[in-house]
Symmetry: C2
Subunit: 354 residues, 2 copies
């Protein structure tokens, strides 16, 4: 049966001091307290096994010490890394991390936002991919709520292009994709396919943008039939593979740029099932450099965007916003560098067996 925990009143009583003094020593405030009083309180607390009630404390000081990270799915390696980064710095600063899976569903995103407002979360980090077009009703409610949350003094940060007005930290999707594509071109590839992410997801569009720019700068015409729809999943990569193999021989690409690593894995698997050899028959690359990328065979050429660091930076930003919350947060965007990781899934055009 549940038993009550001692409160600070009990501690004060036992120590023979007022609650005020007891509170002052327990909350490690800078307020002066005599050495003897401090000792008495401390030992009383120890004997009683006193545990401060953070809920009461939060209620009083108007700070919950709660940071939430909104992700599409925490089991997705992309989000998992980001969440890990968030948790690391949050924990290091005495904050608890609340994990919110939105499943990329605006409805659930809204619902979580509401709950987080209820709990007076100090910080909210949007990692779930922002959409480039927004006209559905939930979105306007979200925008409204976000504003209210900010007015309350909570800090909001986005980690991808997002319609909401908040400071943002992002990976260099465009630059990374550009560099990757340029690398393929430097290997002699001219027909390079691109497997997209889900429809209207901003990071996917950014990566495509980098791809397009590299091609254009190299004077290579864009071939619409080489833009293949994907959805960031392995299954999506597999179906992209079956589209690829059905292309007439003269339209076939010699390299494919998958919008993320998972898609690349699905692609590799699908192509193999159709009898293609990798990388002999086609070069493949991904984006994200999730841990598995270096483990598959052939190891995957990709772009590292240090997701964990992204999460860390996001949490840092939240903390710094919380420091000086008198100022309005300016919706600036900070870009974290991306790095090309050359591995074995891409080979020179001339080495291909065709």
């Amino acid at each position: 049966m549940p038993t009550q925990l001692p409160s600070i009143v009990d501690v004060a009583k036992k120590a023979g001091v007022s609650v005020a003094t007891a509170s002052r020593v327990m909350s490690s405030s800078t307020y002066p307290v005599s050495g003897t009083a401090r000792e008495k309180v401390l030992s009383a607390a120890r004997e009683l096994k006193y545990v401060p009630n953070s809920l009461a404390r939060s209620l009083k000081i108007q700070r919950s010490k709660l940071i939430a990270v909104l992700v599409g799915d925490n089991a997705d390696p992309y989000f998992a890394q980001v969440a890990r980064g968030v948790e690391e710095v949050a924990n290091a600063h005495g904050y608890l991390t609340i994990m919110c899976n939105t499943g990329r569903d605006p409805m659930r995103e809204l619902s979580y936002l509401q709950t987080l407002q209820d709990y007076r979360a100090d910080g909210i980090i949007f990692s779930s991919s922002g959409l480039s077009e927004i006209d559905y009703p939930e979105q306007v409610q979200i925008d409204e709520l976000v504003e209210k949350i900010q007015e309350r003094g909570a800090a909001i940060v986005t980690l991808s292009p997002h319609s909401i007005k908040a400071p943002s930290i992002q990976s260099d999707n465009i630059g990374g994709a550009y560099e990757l594509t340029a690398y393929l071109i430097s290997l002699g590839h001219r027909r390079i396919a691109f497997v997209t992410g889900p429809d209207k997801v901003a990071v996917s569009e950014q990566r495509q943008q980098g791809y397009t720019r590299a091609l254009t700068e190299a004077g290579i015409p864009l071939s619409p039939e080489l833009i293949i729809p994907g959805n960031f999943t392995q299954a999506g990569g597999e179906s992209a593979a079956s589209i690829l193999v059905q292309l007439p021989t003269e339209q076939r690409p010699s390299a494919v740029f998958a919008c993320n690593d998972e898609t690349a894995f699905g692609l590799m698997n699908g192509l193999r099932q159709h009898g293609w050899r990798l990388p002999e028959d086609i070069s493949i690359c991904g984006f994200g450099d999730i841990p598995m990328a270096r483990m598959v065979t052939p190891s995957l050429t990709t772009v590292s965007i240090s997701l964990r660091q992204l999460g860390q930076a996001g949490a840092q930003k939240v903390l710094s916003l919380l420091q000086n919350k008198q100022q309005e947060p300016e919706p600036t965007t900070e870009i974290l560098p991306a790095m090309l990781i050359k591995r074995n899934s891409t080979i020179p055009y001339s080495s291909h067996a065709n």
Copy 2:
């Protein structure tokens, strides 16, 4: 600049009723309230954009609606799946999920437990692997704290063998490992290596137990040189590979049972780097069936223990314990079935190229 949110007092005032009535309708209690009063409160709340303060509410009703999941590392696919399961049912029941990475460090585990006690978390789910031997000082503090947490009325559940006294839900590690090993034997393998998990981690020991039993029952003598240390990581698998290739030819196994999938991936990679072909030269299998297992080449034979379901069951258990917290929670252990997943990384002994 931060602005105050309206409280229920404001709502009551605006609606022209008492706070009691306002509270009754906002907290959707069963207490009778007239239709007109209800309407007035509702519309006042809407106009004021009232947001109930969960902190205050929790403080009052002595329930935080917070569930924590302690994992080794949320980016590890194993824990990620578990956490996902927890979040799903927690969210469905109006609970927030707190993510705690312990890094398998008892010190951090203790520290998180303390914080969770501070926040009066309603439920705590231990997913971080329990150790089979416990004599270090942190552990005794943990046991003590766990007891206090339970006395408070919070629910604690473990998802692996654990020294702490709490209800537990576990995958059938022994049975799964037994079945897997028996399968290898049925394929004609006699020399089967086992790559362990980290030292003294209980689930690793359980899997080894299943392995040993299957071998013994088949009358196959155990070969100490075939027990190779690992640590649940790909790097561990890679170093296991280099040990393996150094074995004198006559001692070489024809199959390897890696204690988890990640180890198996590292193993595959390492063996390949030494020029071995898979599965022609050696059969490999893992344990866990993480999503990547079916994507690698060759696809990995493994044991599925539906981690997500494990997380769900854990959260369910917490909720049911919370329901009737008058009773002392009996430290029962529920076992979730494991399922053998046959794929292409294992082939009959006779098909091997030796």
